[in-house]
């Protein structure tokens, strides 16, 4: 979805019914062009102001089009985790693969995940090495011993079990028979059945059934929606929560046909969130939603003393903090101000907190240090939304708008980016940024972005608490939002965000984008509303939102393509 669409969605949802606490910035820029390829294609007409939509009327019908997810190639994290769970391989072979591009904020977007000859070559050599090493370790082929004269029964047994797990679905006898052909091939070349079996295992790992998450449309279903098969649902679930293949318990629920039962699904979700493999949801969903991943590439100026131990500690802090939300009774909205965090001595000193006694991060209460509570006060986020040598209220404000409220402003017009450095350095940044609001072309958006960033001005470019800016001016962390709401400091600012009606739908939209591996559009807004309502009714815990997405029609169903399979 383009940010324009996002903004419209937010508008449509918040609509007339609710107070616009934080309105989207007035759009005086032309609508984003969706031009057909070609130099002179005409611009489609778009109304400058979309007609107001009544969200209640819009979502009155129960019909929720689940949409389509394109054939989904495993991304690098998914590949690594899958071969870990399938073969016991912990070498992260996908490190050697080209990077996955991301779309709509996540690198598991099925449309963007493309296949290339280079990647195919990598898959092929990885498969050879993975099978050789797993064979040597005894992680495959240990189910039975192949009889030299009659190896087929044992080989069939090994291959059937392996393909069932690797392809994450029921495997037909005929498919196993095809795989057994590799034993005959090896025999022709004078090699042992073991050589043939290993070739078959390699073929399983290079097959599209392994590399893609296949979801089929029944031939009769053109254009209409249908429930996923049990196997397909199990895969969606495990790749959402674990970025990996289903385990035995989940496979069993799929095999005996009970997984579609909402109560069974719920039990599986809670079991899976409590499993160590749920770390993948923290690394891959939260790591991208909260920008924690960008910390790896952050290069604050040397004068801030930012080093590897601090980078690692900041990363772990956000990871452990978010992780706790998966299984606890904390609500999703508590991400803004939960009164605890995790620090080690290095990070505690950085934050001006008492030491905890070592390099290992420990959970501490922030009851006495409320300004440090919540994601907005964590070093990881504050660092990656700063420039290397100064804070950027704009970047911080945009982060809040895009990631928490889905009210992304359009990008600035050309030729205006960056803050001139010749302005009087004795002025605080707020005064220096006044220009944003004095120029009409900038004011519309900056009157929304800048104040949110000002609220975080007590945190320096690496997240240390400060009362004075580097130029010596006292920090002014007050802000005024377009509707006249005023606040001072991070504690008041984060309460405004926490109570914003767009926080829950926005979080849900990000979660759904990640869970489905596709971008969301205005068509998905009613489903988002349903999930928010359901999750809030259950208590609003983070796991309620996760469960809400999983139990939604969007997750359990798919619409068949109008262009049907070829007969």
């Amino acid at each position: 979805m383009t940010s324009t669409n996002r903004r419209r969605n937010a508008l449509a949802l918040t609509g007339l019914a609710l107070t616009l606490v934080l309105a989207a910035c007035p759009s005086n820029t032309p609508p984003k062009a969706r031009v057909l390829p070609g130099p002179d294609a005409p611009l489609p007409e778009e109304p400058a102001h979309p007609p107001p939509v009544d969200p209640e009327a819009m979502c009155r019908s129960d019909a929720r089009d689940p949409g389509r997810v394109t054939l989904h190639r495993l991304n690098r994290a998914e590949y690594d985790n899958t071969v870990r769970d399938l073969l016991g391989d912990t070498t992260h072979p996908a490190r050697d693969f080209p990077a996955d591009d991301h779309g709509f904020g996540f690198d598991n977007n099925a449309d963007v995940l493309s296949m290339s000859p280079l990647l195919m070559e990598k898959y092929s050599s990885a498969a050879e090495r993975l099978v050789d090493e797993a064979w040597t370790r005894g992680d495959v082929g240990a189910r039975c011993v192949m009889d030299t004269l009659s190896p087929e029964p044992c080989a069939r047994d090994i291959l059937a079990a392996f393909a069932h797990r690797a392809w994450r679905r029921t495997v037909a006898d005929a498919e196993v028979t095809r795989l057994l052909g590799f034993l005959a091939l090896a025999r022709q070349h004078g090699d042992s059945p073991e050589v043939g079996l290993k070739l078959a295992l390699r073929a399983v790992l290079v097959s599209p059934h392994f590399l893609f998450r296949v979801e089929k449309d029944p031939a009769s279903a053109a254009g209409s929606e249908h429930p996923l098969s049990d196997d397909e649902l199990a895969s969606r679930l495990s790749y959402f929560l674990w970025s990996s293949m289903p385990d035995e318990a989940l496979r069993a629920a799929a095999d005996d046909g009970t997984l579609q039962d909402p109560a069974v699904l719920e039990r599986q979700v809670h079991r899976m969130l409590g499993d160590a493999k749920a770390q993948a949801l923290v690394d891959n969903f939260a790591g991208q939603w909260l920008y924690t991943r960008a910390l790896d590439a952050a290069e604050p100026d040397t004068r801030y003393g930012f080093d590897e131990p601090l980078r690692v500690a900041m990363h772990q802090e956000t990871t452990l903090f978010f992780r706790e939300f998966l299984t606890s009774d904390l609500t999703m909205k508590d991400l803004l101000d939960a009164p605890f965090t995790y620090v080690n001595d290095r990070l505690a000193a950085h934050y001006g907190l008492p030491p905890v006694g070592g390099d290992e991060l420990k959970r501490i209460s922030l009851r006495d240090r409320p300004e440090r509570a919540g994601i907005l006060a964590q070093g990881s986020l504050l660092t990656v939304t700063s420039n290397p040598d100064r804070t950027s209220p704009v970047k911080r404000g945009v982060w809040v708008l895009e990631q928490l409220l889905c009210k992304a402003p359009p990008p600035p017009p050309p030729n205006v980016e960056g803050l001139p450095t010749t302005v009087d350095p004795r002025l605080n940044i707020k005064a220096r940024m006044k220009m944003h609001r004095s120029q009409p072309s900038c004011a519309g958006c900056h009157s929304l972005m800048d104040p949110l960033g000002f609220g975080l001005e007590n945190f320096d470019p690496v997240g240390r608490w400060r009362l004075k800016e580097e130029g010596g001016a006292p920090v002014d962390s007050s802000g005024e939002l377009p509707d006249g709401t005023t606040f001072t400091g991070v504690m008041q600012m984060r309460q405004i965000v926490k109570s914003d009606p767009d926080l829950a739908p926005c979080f849900t939209e990000h979660l759904m984008t990640y869970a489905l591996g596709r971008g969301t559009t205005t068509k998905d807004q009613c489903a988002v509303r349903d999930i928010v309502k359901q999750a809030e009714a259950r208590g609003g815990r983070l796991s309620d939102y996760i469960l809400g997405v999983i139990q939604s029609n969007h997750f359990t169903h798919r619409r068949a393509e109008t262009e049907t399979p070829r007969p």
Partner: protein, 446 residues
């Protein structure tokens, strides 16, 4: 790294010197190139190297004032002093298709960097640009070598957020495009590149072993191709197109496996580079690998991205505290000009290192550089105004006698695509039409 590889590398390393002292084995010389249309008069193949650098160039310190053979090195071009004789500086070309719809100059211009095609503005679905000139060349001459082309870079991807104002990340991260919807991903780990170039080749294998290995490899390919084809019959149109990408990959893999024995490296690889995050070490390692790949005739077409579009990389080792993209919006402040010129010069140093390495390798009676075109440019000219005209362009090397060097050519807004039409002709991949081009660039050849 696989165990198997360790063994074969040991064999390869036997008696080999360090990377810098590679002996060029005589038998590698143009045994395949002899009948090659793209070969130089001396019989050596022609190579193309493309060096991309992000966020534009500070042009006042780049552009030589004199035109023709009287040109002098400017401050930014100073690192190229040892190879000035081998250089052509080209000013005044424009890449109009790089201009975005609204914002997104860096991504749109980067996808148009070698394609001269307009990128369709989308954040994820329905990506559409055009085939890049390196891939046109690879399609024409790539079959002669083990790798039709190599795509290298320093940065994998941003990892979070959006890439550039409504343009999907593939536009910002790729200059090589096999087709309008198919970016060719790049490798960003020197060690992985080295392994790919040399790992699958075992010079100690007997003919029978090679044939068996090939037969096994092909049998797996046949198996998965059949899987994909039968799966395709059960999928809708969009999914089928994804599987088409897979089948293209399978076809390429088949070519690679078929050529296993005939296209092994014909010179010694030296020592695998260590992985590092230091951009200085990494850039040097990548340049060494380019030279090695050309020298061993593993490929003749290679592109390299020193950074991805809109890179805000910091250069603390140059004494700079802010990021590149931030500086590039210079607002005409002298301090920002200084910073940009410092970064530009460092970029030119990396390119100069490669050019000098190419020049140091003898090939028949000339040097590798004499048989190459090493192209350098950025997606835009000035970073503040996002200029898509007057692009900063260098070509080093004589392309086997096709180019007369040590000149500064100035044009007035001719399409960049015209230069690519000329270059493709020189490379043995003639095209009559490319991007917004109107014909070969006048005054380039000769």
């Amino acid at each position: 790294m696989s165990k198997k590889f360790t063994l074969s590398r040991r064999t390869l390393l036997r008696g080999a010197g360090a990377l810098l002292a590679l002996p060029l084995l005589e038998q590698m010389l143009p045994h395949r190139a002899r009948a090659d249309a793209a070969a130089t008069p001396a019989g050596a193949p022609r190579r193309l190297f493309v060096f991309y650098t992000a966020c534009g160039i500070h042009m006042p310190r780049w552009t030589p004032s004199a035109v023709g053979s009287d040109w002098q090195l400017t401050p930014t071009l100073q690192p190229l002093a040892p190879v000035k004789d081998d250089l052509i500086v080209i000013s005044g070309l424009a890449n109009a298709p790089g201009r975005p719809d609204g914002d997104g100059h860096h991504a749109a211009a980067t996808s148009a960097f070698l394609s001269c095609a307009k990128a369709y503005k989308t954040e994820g679905t329905d990506i559409h640009s055009g085939i890049s000139m390196d891939q046109v060349a690879a399609n024409a001459v790539g079959k002669a070598t083990r790798f039709a082309s190599l795509e290298l870079g320093i940065d994998a991807g941003k990892g979070i957020g959006n890439c550039d104002s409504g343009y999907a990340c593939p536009y910002a991260n790729n200059i090589a495009w096999a087709g309008p919807a198919t970016p060719v991903p790049k490798e960003t780990r020197p060690q992985a590149v080295f392994n790919r170039l040399f790992a699958d080749f075992d010079p100690s294998a007997t003919q029978a072993q090679v044939e068996k290995r090939r037969a096994y490899g092909l049998s797996i390919i046949d198996f998965v191709r059949e899987d994909a084809k039968s799966l395709q019959g059960q999928l809708g149109g969009t999914d089928r197109r994804k599987l088409d990408e897979y089948l293209t990959g399978v076809r390429e893999l088949e070519l690679r496996v078929n050529a296993l024995e005939s296209q092994g490296p014909s010179c010694s690889p030296g020592v695998a580079p260590e992985d590092t995050t230091d951009v200085r070490v990494k850039a040097k390692a990548m340049m060494d690998l380019v030279v090695l790949a050309f020298q061993c005739d593993l490929t003749r077409i290679c592109t390299f991205m020193l950074a991805n579009a809109r890179s805000d990389k910091a250069y603390p080792f140059l004494g700079l505290t802010s990021g590149h993209h931030t500086y590039s919006h210079h607002q005409n402040l002298p301090s920002n000009f200084e910073a940009l010129a410092t970064i530009d010069r460092w970029e030119v140093e990396q390119y100069a290192y490669l050019v000098q390495r190419l020049k140091a390798v003898q090939e028949s009676d000339a040097t590798l550089l004499d048989h190459s075109m090493a192209y350098f440019s950025s997606e835009i000219a000035d970073g503040n105004s996002h200029e898509h005209k007057n692009l900063p362009i260098l070509i080093a090397g004589r392309a086997g006698g096709a180019l007369h060097t040590n000149r500064h050519l100035r044009y007035s807004g001719d399409p960049l695509a015209n230069l690519f039409i000329s270059m493709l002709g020189i490379l043995g991949a003639p095209v009559s039409q490319f991007g917004d081009g109107t014909g070969p660039l006048s005054g380039l050849e000769g």
